[in-house]
Symmetry: C2
Subunit: 126 residues, 2 copies
């Protein structure tokens, strides 16, 4: 368990959750765990308004898919990859005022060499 | 980074993602990090077809909200809590044949003393 100072979070219980499928990715980027996590972290770090608190990546085996999940001060981001299908699922859930979800999805798709489809943004909260 | 044996994952790139808002929760359950993570893990462990690979919980301070994220062999589950509003957001994304999302949301709501609203299940993948 990780505990941070109170100022890390003072968001209201509302935000935006974007989900996407990214097709035709670079296959290596979907199984090289260090590279995939590094790419995800680097992209999110480039956005003001996103603060990464933790990154965890689980590889399902050499050449197999992986899951990378970032805990954010704003909520979370995740990828689940399927190298055999050149595909990954992406999630970005942010509380607070961050609203650059579509630009960020485009950056993810470009970095993984793919194309984002079925991009859907859901407003969560009261 | 965690690496597991190949047999941990042989799912197709499709699944169900359920999101929910849980209102009127027991306030303590929303800020006691050990208890919240333990409850989440215990509930998911009770479901055949769900395999937890990792659990990470971040507390935003004493009496403040928390984020708990589980990496699953099937994808992920998460909660983001707001004790001041007696509210939490819940996500369960599973690839494979698991389809007991609504029952699981009910179990989560009951354990946290709340009521699930805005429950939405999205089919992801091709």
């Amino acid at each position: 368990m990780i505990q941070s100072k109170d100022e890390d979070k003072n968001y209201k219980a509302q935000g935006l959750h974007t989900i996407a499928t990214i097709l035709q990715c670079n296959k290596e980027m979907l199984y090289l765990a260090y590279e995939a996590e590094h790419a995800l972290v680097s992209i999110l770090n480039d956005y003001p308004g996103i603060k990464i608190l933790d990154a965890r990546t689980h590889s399902f085996g050499i050449g197999q898919g992986l899951t990378s999940i970032l805990t954010l001060a704003e909520s979370h981001a995740s990828i689940h990859t399927y190298p055999e299908d050149y595909l990954m699922f992406f999630d970005l859930f942010t509380c607070g005022s961050f609203d650059m979800h579509e630009a960020l999805v485009s950056d993810i798709a470009r970095t993984f060499g793919g194309v984002a489809v079925n991009v859907q943004t859901i407003r969560r909260g009261l």
